[in-house]
Subunit: 464 residues, 2 copies
């Protein structure tokens, strides 16, 4: 572990150095520090000792160099929507808030790619792309920054069609632990020129460097889009429909599962009136004829699996309302119990094991005293249980952790992963050995090679 930052920041001259660089873009205010030490999860907040708001790569390099000299941790911060404590300054240190670095730097419409500063959000980029016929496809529930999405290897509702950040990032600009700046790749669609640094930094959660620029693939806005809502008698039927849809090769753009509890939550939160039963939300992208074909194929599959109703939504407003409700699902679930926090599980399994995994999980939840809706990007084999709890109530936290651990071990036994898209942070560190075994020592060797003093977001992913 690095030395605690607090003393160093306040006593060691670092504060003067930072003030000289950042002026009033350095904050020591309690409210600012506290806001930057917490994400949207139940994990305990840890305020950094100081927060800086750089304007460009050079300023990020300057803070990295200063912190390296003083052996003080550097914690990157996008918009604070992580779910595994990734932004908590558990060893103190300086939070680097990238929200002012939110420019769209380049759009190459012919090459279907764009480069943004790390602080740009998905909605900002897509708004910028409005007139190009292109869109940025990675779509987590929150309107996260692209730097944050890259750092956690995020995905979301349409990864089943367009891939996660792993497939979407073409290259990164990264400030290393010693303050050097590198670009991990050029814009060619493929390259075999040396080690894949892009993919190494995607998912590294700030522990190997600070991502400051992100180049991503874009996709053409489809000629036609349609959506459908399918209600099922039980979870097993819904998940069997998912599995068969994926295996049939239908190129669904989105295929999302909400159980009866989640449906109740979004009905209340978004003023909807869906039936309280396991439900799939679909979206289809393609040619006008193609989306009709896709929807018909899926309706036929659903019909063989106790589908209680298959409702098409071709109207753009209705679709927007539907997907907004899905995107708000996490907040809707939290609102089921006002004041609660969420422990969101994130297992992902091979799709052939998905039905078994979800049904057994639902049984665990039914036997527990916690309220815990299920929502999921089931086309990838990934789903979340949002366990609503009072972080001050030790019994509730213990029960949520017990259920989470059972889920993780079940997923691992099915050749799955403890986290499909939220990352490790502090919340999943305990499962990394169970998942990767000896490979964890390779990760540790990489961490030591790139951050020998352990000052880049220390205490996340790995204990060094």
């Amino acid at each position: 572990m690095a030395v605690s930052g607090q003393a160093a920041v306040l006593e060691d001259g670092l504060l003067d150095e930072l003030r000289a660089i950042f002026g009033d873009r350095l904050s020591l205010a309690d409210a600012v520090r506290e806001q930057h030490g917490r994400d949207e999860s139940y994990h305990a907040a840890h305020a950094p000792d100081a927060v800086v708001f750089p304007a460009d790569n050079e300023e990020v390099q300057a803070v990295a160099r200063a912190c390296a000299r003083h052996h003080v941790p550097v914690i990157p911060f996008g918009i604070g929507t992580s779910l595994e404590g990734q932004v908590a300054a558990i060893c103190g240190g300086v939070c680097v808030d990238l929200s002012r670095m939110d420019a769209v730097l380049e759009v190459h419409a012919q090459d279907m790619d764009a480069t943004v500063q790390a602080g740009a959000t998905g909605s900002k980029l897509n708004s910028y792309l409005r007139d190009t016929g292109l869109f940025f496809a990675v779509d987590p529930g929150a309107d996260a920054t692209l730097g944050g999405m890259a750092a956690t290897r995020a995905s979301g509702t349409n990864a089943v069609r367009y891939g996660t950040m792993r497939e979407t990032v073409l290259g990164l600009g990264v400030v290393l632990a010693d303050g050097r700046f590198i670009r991990t790749s050029r814009r060619a669609r493929k390259s075999a020129a040396g080690y894949d640094l892009t993919r190494l930094f995607v998912g590294s959660e700030g522990t190997l460097g600070v991502i400051t620029e992100v180049t991503v693939r874009l996709h053409g806005i489809p000629e036609a889009t349609s959506a459908a809502v399918a209600a099922f008698a039980d979870l097993d039927s819904a998940v069997s429909t998912v599995i068969e849809t994926i295996q049939s090769g239908v190129p669904v753009a989105r295929i999302e599962l909400l159980d009866d509890v989640s449906m109740d939550a979004i009905n209340r939160f978004s003023g909807l009136s869906y039936e309280l039963t396991p439900t799939l939300f679909f979206e289809f992208h393609g040619s006008t004829r193609g989306v009709v074909e896709q929807a018909q194929t899926v309706e036929a599959i659903a019909g063989e699996h106790a589908c209680k109703g298959f409702h098409w939504a071709t109207d753009a407003d209705e679709r927007a309302h539907l997907w907004q409700a899905r995107h708000d699902a996490y907040y809707a679930c939290l609102a089921l119990r006002p004041g609660s926090k969420g422990l969101a599980t994130d297992v992902c399994v091979p799709v052939s094991r998905l039905a078994e995994c979800i049904v057994e999980t639902r049984r665990d939840i039914d036997e527990s005293f916690l309220i815990a809706p299920i929502v999921g990007h089931v086309g990838d084999g990934n789903f979340h249980v949002v366990m609503l709890l009072d972080p001050e109530n030790a019994d509730e936290v213990a029960e949520a952790k017990r259920l989470n651990e059972r889920m993780v071990m079940r997923a691992l036994a099915m050749d799955g992963t403890c986290t499909g898209e939220h990352g490790v942070g502090t919340g999943k560190m305990e499962f990394l050995m169970a998942e990767h075994g000896e490979a964890v020592s390779v990760m540790r060797a990489l961490k030591r090679a790139l951050d020998p003093d352990n000052i880049m977001n220390p205490g996340k992913i790995l204990i060094v």
Copy 2:
């Protein structure tokens, strides 16, 4: 550099250790050693001091441990089809020939993935998958092993639709420099559980460890397939057709360019009678109606770009003949000058720059005395110039290197890469700094972290 292997192998007891493990699966025969020190390129052969033929992971671990103790290089060998000297034992050492580890270990048809030992070839896997309705899509010209394809981050004709080995590999089994065995990932389609070791080893060319198992995504065999051959008046028109096809969003499965010289080569080699003019080979995958739509769209685009003839090939035998000719193109080019070797360039640029890049390259070739046909996976922005030369003729080698260097620098100036799919080996090391700059020092740090004694395929990718 590691110490030279020869002395160590022969004098230091290592030979006895290897003989105890491998018995008659250890070879010191000149012919065997020489065959294992050369690939299909013009690069000078360097025979290893010994060749071993392991049967399982444990035996690969045993040879790695023995070589680590004696500080002797380990060079993995698949089937010897690399093009940048990747298998040359330039520091001596022990060649690990994985050809006897060619089992298909697991096929999960429902999850659309398969795990093979590293020595299995693409054709072996696809033959095994015959009755599943699935296929392995990565398709380099040679029938390479999956371990070799993973190690060089290979791609080939249908990467434009199905991705390269970067997108195709789900996980690897790897023997590390010290003989430990790790698995880089489980079978879930996505994961955010720590550093992406899979992508780190994909493209590492044996310099970080020996890949012994490969888990890959499979794809459903499309309902319908059709192909087309389109002849153009000039290169610019052909490449403009490619660019517009990609930008139109047509999901072409293959789109290959051959210039007039390549067409001459494949006509002679494969007994065909195509017109000697720049030509595109297309393949379309989809529903019966979909492939017709795709082909019509592309025919219309070609018609706007001086297409001299658009010939559909829906007959399976005709298609097979056409693609076999394309796959044999490298050998066909070499046969234009019997006894010659090939220096195959491999630049890849953003597709918006492709026409400019190819036309300027053709001009360079026209002004040179070398015969140098152009073939390429142009949908990705990737193409090859096969410069035919006598490796003993210093003038020819110098001229080929001069042209290659001009191409690489042109590609880098266009935000492209020196190698789209062949890898670095010994042939592209000199360009790595120009392409990646400071990032090369990060690659070097990774190499040192995982192979501190520099015994894993030393002298490739990086000088440590």
